[in-house]
Symmetry: C2
Subunit: 141 residues, 2 copies
């Protein structure tokens, strides 16, 4: 296994850095979160707090579940609910000392996982696509 | 590589069979597609035609893009547009003779790919989760 580890990239090489990750703030109304999700085209994005710590994930699925109960999907109702009321808070995070195999295990059940630094601040995300791309390269070596 | 192939599962073993896959019909109105997506919890599901051939994929992202242009997300507008008008028609499919490595290549850019039989009829889907689970097993062997 050790030889194998030598050829795998580090988490930093796999990671999409925070400045390239669409995200919302924990106190934002759902209306704002929905606009960020629709404009970015992503199904789900990270939720950060004002000190740039990762708090969870907000998705189109969660927002649709919340408001489809009523006859019309009134956008004004989305302005009354905040992101922290319906976000998923159990998305796993990786720390600086973790390896690609740790990312692989967590990505089995999550489309992306977050990466934080020693102080717990948000550094970026690792996506299933980035891991699958590595495997497809590795297979041909 | 040959020895490697022996330990990998066949596509049939990896596949979620069609009876377990939530799907919609090409002629359905978007209102129905949105209800299937919200009830199943999935971001996107396959679109089939009346002869059970795979035609594309419909997603919450596409439906939201389509209707968010107006002030309120009126559900009645969703009943006027049909699935075939906005679905993604370029999702790749695997045929019976393909291997897991073919699935890996296609899953780099798609969360799931479809599997068809010799007559082109829909057999099921292979998801990124199923491939990642195999890799995590393989790594520990
Ligand atoms: N603008 C685009 N250009 C090219 N391909 C695109 C794309 N948007 C989506 N895709 C493709 O569709 C997959 C699923 O995207 P989804 O938005 O559902 O799910 C995404 C999204 O929720 C999140 N994500 C990815 N990149 C992000 C970013 N820069 N900022 C925030 N969230 C991101 O991670 C999930 C998994 O991403 P992953 O790349 O593995 O997988 C992506 C990618 O293969
Ligand atoms: N009810 C549930 N129970 C447990 N885990 C769940 C779940 N719903 C979603 N997940 C998890 O979230 C991932 C993304 O789901 P999503 O709905 O965006 O994206 C899904 C969905 O669009 C589609 N899909 C998966 N299973 C399906 C099914 N039985 N019928 C129709 N579409 C399916 O394939 C995509 C990738 O699926 P994958 O399993 O790789 O990845 C899934 C899975 O890891």
């Amino acid at each position: 296994i050790e030889k194998d580890k030598l050829t795998w990239p580090t988490l930093a090489e796999l990671m999409i850095p925070s400045e390239k990750v669409a995200h919302v703030q924990i106190g934002n109304p759902l209306e704002h979160a929905l606009l960020v999700l629709v404009k970015s085209g992503y199904s789900a994005v990270p939720v950060l707090d004002p000190t740039y710590k990762f708090q969870g994930v907000i998705s189109k699925t969660k927002i649709l579940e919340e408001t489809l109960g009523i006859e019309e999907f009134e956008l004004n109702r989305l302005s009354e609910i905040q992101v922290n009321e319906i976000m998923d808070a159990d998305v796993p995070c990786l720390q600086p000392g973790n390896h690609m195999i740790d990312a692989l295990h967590k990505l089995i059940d999550y489309p992306f996982v977050c990466v934080t630094n020693e102080d717990g601040e948000f550094d970026g995300i690792i996506t299933r696509r980035s891991i699958l791309k590595q495997y497809s390269k590795h297979y041909h070596e």
